[in-house]
């Protein structure tokens, strides 16, 4: 009996009748329960820990994207043309529509209070951007207002210190920092970079306390160094703007090429836009006129025709052609000069820009050879440029040329080209008869070109073009102080519908300097000048002159012509 019961009390009256096996049973159950717990603990923590690990991480671990910064666009001297700076997108989500500081917020965001109120009201349904690309200073002031439900996200804003002067070269990005035009678009891939990421543990204060795996570092976009010289670019743009305004023209372009490397030193168009101001980025101001607008190159093509005749030994610079009485007939068509000149040497035909003389020379040239030469210098060929929308121009196959077309083609009508193509074609004369590929990226290496003319022919044409800018030529206004220049004017009637307009012209000039050893080719076109003349020699040549003078000074080229010094400084005797 004693063995079969357990004493819970000293009093025999309260002696229990509980059998011993029951307490043993309870003990066993408890032990089994603990074993079960221990087993579960091992299972959860060691064998199958994924689920709880995941759940734990979901509460404290965070993936952070590390955005790459977009590469900068630099000019040839390393000056910034485009760079990304910090900015903030200000947004509202369930903001208090009656907050007293909303007026101050509207002021800071530079928007009417009524417009802000509308957006704040909409934010009761969810996320609404109030304004994007807000500067850090403004954002800090907004933060200080402490409006509940108004917050911000970090983003980047593209800054263009050169502004409208380099707009068409540099281009711009959209609000997502993606290139839309110009170099921003052309080199978007290299500029963009790749985002990195890290997985971290955060504590309840939001501070990072541990990295859960190796950080994947973001790869920042590369910097792109363009061949543009921002000083040359600005001065070219400034001269162009002044000329377009002076002649009340609708637009114009300037292209400056480095003869030795084929680099584009400047490429300016007017009217232009401010790349960082989205409101100005509309309509025709976005057009990179020097690349997209084509025109009939007119007289500027004559040196190519004559170059071909020299190359084929059809003529020499002193061969005389009779251009009297100042017109001639080709089939039923009449080709005339602006004034009769009488007998002219080949050099004088260029100097006086005689259509009749050029046509007479071209009569000895096969159409195929002319077509081949035009093609070789890039007319009707897609320019090897990265810029979007570059025009190909028009050059019909030689087998479709009629006699009169071949004649007009010899002096630049019946084919079309962009200013960029025309400027590049002139590198043939500025170099030793070879043509080089152009580039917008900085290269220091001189490049090897494709030969079109012999170096003798190129030198002959250079001398003829020098005459064209002389006092007796068509463009004395292209002359500069100190540097010899050579080039050719052109004036083309614009095509309206199916016929040539009598009122709308394009005046242009393309040339190079210094003549003996050319360093730059400059092309200028002024579109529809209305005041103060329209001839290329009057509207475009002065821009050429100023651009050449500034560019060569900036490049540190010593003048090749003697200039009467005008220095008033008096020397002081050096003390011994």
């Amino acid at each position: 009996m004693k063995r079969r019961s357990i004493a819970y009390s000293a009093s025999p009256l309260l002696a229990s009748r509980t059998p011993v096996w029951r307490s043993r049973f309870i003990l066993a159950v408890l032990a089994a329960a603990f074993l079960g717990l221990a087993g579960r603990a091992v299972y959860v923590q060691v064998l199958d820990n994924d689920f709880f690990q995941r759940q734990g991480e979901a509460r404290f671990a965070r993936n952070i994207e590390l955005p790459p910064s977009r590469g900068r666009i630099l000019d040839r001297n390393g000056l910034i043309l485009a760079s990304s700076v910090a900015a903030y997108g200000i947004w509202a989500d369930g903001a208090d529509a009656k907050h007293p500081a909303l007026g101050a917020l509207a002021n800071l965001l530079d928007m009417p209070k009524s417009a802000l109120d509308k957006r704040i009201a909409r934010s009761s349904d969810g996320f609404v951007y109030l304004k994007r690309q807000v500067s850090p200073e403004i954002r800090n002031k907004i933060k200080a207002l402490g409006i509940k439900g108004v917050s911000d996200t970090k983003e980047y804003k593209r800054e263009y210190p050169e502004g409208e002067a380099a707009a068409h070269v540099v281009g711009f990005t959209n609000i997502e920092d993606k290139g839309i035009d110009g170099a921003e678009l052309a080199f978007n891939g290299a500029l963009t970079g790749h985002p990195g990421s890290r997985r971290v543990l955060k504590d309840r204060m939001g501070s990072i306390i541990e990295d859960l795996r190796d950080i994947v570092q973001p790869v920042n976009g590369e910097d792109i160094q363009l061949s543009i010289d921002s000083k040359v670019q600005f001065l070219a743009y400034d001269q162009l703007r002044a000329a377009v305004e002076k002649h009340d023209a609708i637009g114009g372009s300037v292209v400056v090429l480095d003869v030795r490397t084929g680099e584009v030193l400047a490429l300016a168009n007017y009217p232009s836009y401010s790349p960082s101001d989205r409101r100005t980025r509309t309509g025709s101001v976005l057009r990179n006129r020097s690349m997209t607008d084509t025109f009939e190159p007119g007289s500027t093509v004559k040196p190519f025709t004559i170059g071909l005749a020299l190359q084929r030994r059809l003529v020499t610079p002193t061969t005389v052609y009779q251009t009297a009485p100042g017109y001639m007939s080709v089939g039923r068509h009449r080709i005339s000069d602006s004034s009769p000149h009488g007998p002219l040497t080949v050099s004088e035909i260029i100097q006086k820009s005689s259509n009749v003389g050029t046509v007479k020379i071209s009569e000895g040239l096969p159409a195929k050879a002319m077509w081949q030469m035009y093609t070789d210098v890039g007319f009707g060929q897609k320019p090897e440029t990265v810029f979007p929308g570059a025009a190909v121009g028009r050059l019909r196959g030689y087998d479709a040329w009629r006699t009169v077309e071949k004649a007009t083609m010899s002096y630049g009508y019946g084919l079309s080209t962009s200013l960029f193509q025309l400027a590049r074609a002139y590198t043939v004369f500025a170099r030793d008869g070879d043509i080089v590929p152009t580039t917008i990226l900085k290269t220091m290496e001189p490049v090897k070109g494709t030969t079109v003319f012999s170096s003798k022919v190129a030198a002959d044409i250079r001398n003829m073009l020098l005459l064209a800018t002389g006092d007796e030529g068509t463009a004395p206004r292209a002359q500069t102080l100190g540097y010899s220049v050579a080039g050719k004017t052109g004036t083309a009637r614009k095509v309206e519908g199916k016929r040539y307009s009598n009122k709308k012209y394009r005046g242009f000039f393309v040339g190079f300097a210094p003549v003996e050893s050319p360093r730059i080719v400059v092309g200028v076109v002024i579109d529809e000048p209305k005041k103060g003349g329209f001839y290329g020699g009057i509207v475009a040549a002065p821009v050429f002159s100023q651009t050449v003078q500034n560019t060569l000074r900036i490049m540190g080229v010593t003048p090749d012509q003697t200039v009467k010094p005008n220095i008033n400084a008096t020397g002081v005797k050096e003390s011994l």
Partner: protein
């Protein structure tokens, strides 16, 4: 036997306190490092901002307008430039 066990228990307690403390320190320091590197990034961003600002201050258009309008300067041309030739053998 009991004495050894007590000593071991105390040692375990002590080391676990140290482990907890070290973990806490390491996380605190990690946070500090992270905050500093965030600050470094921010300073880089500010630096870029300042560089762009400085660049805008010296942009040719601004220099030109100040030189011409405020300082009454004019563009040099070859007639008012003295060209000196660098003596041969003189390397810079």
């Amino acid at each position: 036997m009991i004495r050894i066990n007590v000593a071991l228990i105390l040692a375990i307690l002590a080391t676990s306190v140290v482990v907890i403390n070290t973990q806490y320190d390491s996380r605190r320091l990690y946070t500090a490092v992270d905050q500093q590197s965030a600050r470094a990034r921010q300073l880089m961003v500010d630096y870029e901002q300042l560089r762009v600002q400085r660049r805008a201050e010296v942009s040719p258009s601004r220099v030109q307008s100040i030189a011409v309008n405020r300082l009454k300067m004019r563009t040099p041309d070859p007639s008012i430039t003295a060209y000196v030739s660098q003596p041969s053998g003189d390397t810079q």
